[in-house]
């Protein structure tokens, strides 16, 4: 039981990285950025390539793991910034309706997937085993080291992100722009730069989650479609709400593990989507959705 909860939390931790990366962009441009999936696929491969081309034979174990994650995070940040330039900046200049952003993001996600398929074909690759001892024993129960590291690492990444958002000037600028671009520029905040920085942060999180997903499953071009998990978590938690996204993701992880035990892995995804639908219909603002009403 405890083991299952722990496994669910670790799964949820990866989902929370996805969901937060997703929520960051939603927060600022108010659309669901499905190109995030493409970034995740891309960075998972980037981390893998860095492993076979550069790091293999030079370093190993947890140092290797750190190097791969860091490479993927940087690759993700660069890719996401590129995506913003190509896919969204022109739309922002023209003050295009939100639906254009949405379609552009889906297009870019599929485009990235297809480019990866050309180079990697549809073969499956897998990451090396970074951590030799597979289990640790606590109170007679065994926990997988990989799960432990996933949980720790995700928590650290989120802590850094929250620090940046709530304790730095950049964070203040991001939150200001997410409220209103024009008012932000009256305060002297350059919205273009802030949007770029937000995509970079979102991409870095996407990179880290890409590696974790690659470790959990295996590498295939459609890996990024797991962005749907982040989307579900965001809806449950409240779209655009960072804390909500984390809570939603952890819940999703635990619920998924529990559902596998109850109805089997075949029915699990269907049940999850039903839960999401219920949320959309009954409580569209999500769990954490406390919307502050602006007084006239």
């Amino acid at each position: 039981m405890l083991q299952n909860i722990f496994f669910g939390l670790s799964l949820g931790a990866v989902y929370s990285l996805v969901a937060v990366g997703f929520a960051l962009v939603f927060n600022i441009l108010k659309f669901s950025n499905f190109s995030h999936g493409g970034v995740m696929s891309f960075t998972a491969y980037a981390g893998y390539l860095a492993y076979i081309w550069i790091f293999d034979g030079r370093i190993s174990g947890s140092v290797m793991f750190l190097a791969v994650v860091l490479t993927a995070a940087v690759a993700g940040a660069i890719t996401a910034v590129g995506i913003e330039r190509v896919g969204f900046r022109r739309l922002r200049r023209n003050q295009a309706p939100v639906i254009y952003y949405f379609i552009s993001s889906i297009t870019l996600g599929i485009l990235l997937e297809n480019i990866i398929t050309i180079f990697a074909s549809s073969n499956f690759y897998s990451y090396p085993v970074f951590f030799s001892s597979k289990n640790i024993e606590i109170l007679g129960m065994s926990f997988s080291v990989a799960d432990f590291v996933t949980l720790l690492f995700s928590a650290a990444a989120l802590a850094i992100l929250l620090f940046v958002l709530y304790r730095t000037k950049l964070g203040l600028a991001v939150r200001t722009v997410s409220f209103d671009v024009n008012t932000a520029s009256l305060m002297g905040i350059d919205a273009d730069r802030v949007v770029m920085a937000t995509f970079a942060m979102s991409g870095a999180l996407g990179g880290i989650s890409g590696v974790f997903l690659g470790m959990n499953y295996s590498l295939y071009p459609q890996l990024g479609q797991l962005v749907v998990k982040g989307f579900i978590a965001s809806v449950i938690g409240g779209l655009g709400n960072i804390t909500g996204a984390v809570i939603g993701a952890l819940l999703l992880g635990i619920v998924e593990v529990a559902l596998i035990g109850m109805v089997g892995s075949g029915w699990m995804p269907a049940c999850v989507f039903v839960i999401m639908l219920v949320f959309l219909l009954v409580r569209p603002r999500g769990i954490a959705g406390v919307i502050v009403q602006e007084k006239a």
């Binding site: 024009n182 932000a184 305060m187 502050v292 602006e294 007084k295």
Partner: protein
């Protein structure tokens, strides 16, 4: 040489002409108001000055120099815009709202000094500094918007409809505050108002905007007694 000089300013939204050849001058240390009906182009004029709306033609000189092209650099030139509808950040605390207003100030000590000065002037804000700004009353939000606008210590303050939707007693307090910002703070103020009576009584000089053009200008007191103004804007027979 005036502090702010606007010459032959034209602005269009697509085919719709919002401003057609506006000329105006604001002297340093004065309060100038622009009155006019809804849709006359008052807000467009302020938005053009602060770079949110781009002019089609015409020139804007501030302290004898053209303003920066990017909207986010206008405040760095010393021009702060307190927008219509206050536009405070509702999910931020009061403190964070003030800090956002001082975004361009890099000296942390200076920011703290100014913040403390605002708290001293607006004790109601100091009492609630960790409260979300969206929970404040309309009048308190207007005070916060003005305080936020002053955090960058601008030379010229653009104020858009500060009395909008406020109770008469609060409106009185807001207008007293505007006078104080000029008298004690030494700021120059360009005020856009629908409340023509109060605006004309307060200002040194005023312009009347109709359909995107200045139709009348003069000293505040002078316009207050002008029969045409009394009829159109002050509700007199």
């Amino acid at each position: 040489m005036s502090y702010l000089t606007v010459q032959d300013l034209h602005v269009s939204y697509g085919p719709v002409q919002a401003l057609r050849g506006v000329n105006l001058k604001v002297d340093e240390g004065s309060i100038v108001s622009i009155i006019g009906a809804n849709g006359a182009g008052k807000t467009t004029l302020l938005n053009t000055l602060s770079g949110i709306v781009k002019p089609k033609s015409g020139s804007i000189l501030f302290s004898g120099k053209p303003l920066p092209a990017k909207a986010c650099n206008i405040i760095r030139a010393g021009l702060a815009h307190i927008p219509e509808g206050r536009k405070i950040f509702p999910g931020f605390t009061i403190e964070e709202n003030l800090l956002a207003g001082a975004y361009i100030v890099h000296d942390k000590k200076l920011v703290e000094q100014r913040r403390d000065a605002m708290y001293a002037r607006f004790p109601i804000l100091a009492e609630r500094l960790q409260q979300q700004a969206g929970t404040l009353s309309g009048g308190e939000q207007q005070m916060l918007a003005i305080a936020r606008g002053l955090m960058s210590d601008p030379g010229l303050v653009l104020l858009d409809e500060p009395s909008l939707g406020l109770a008469p007693l609060v409106v009185k307090a807001v207008f007293e505050l505007i006078r104080e910002i000029r008298d004690k703070g030494g700021k120059t103020i360009l005020l856009v108002e629908q409340n023509a009576k109060k605006a004309l009584a307060l200002c040194d000089y005023a312009y009347v905007l109709e359909n995107g053009a200045i139709v009348l200008e003069g000293q505040g007191q002078e316009l207050l007694s002008n029969p045409a103004i009394r009829k159109a804007y002050l509700g007199a027979e």
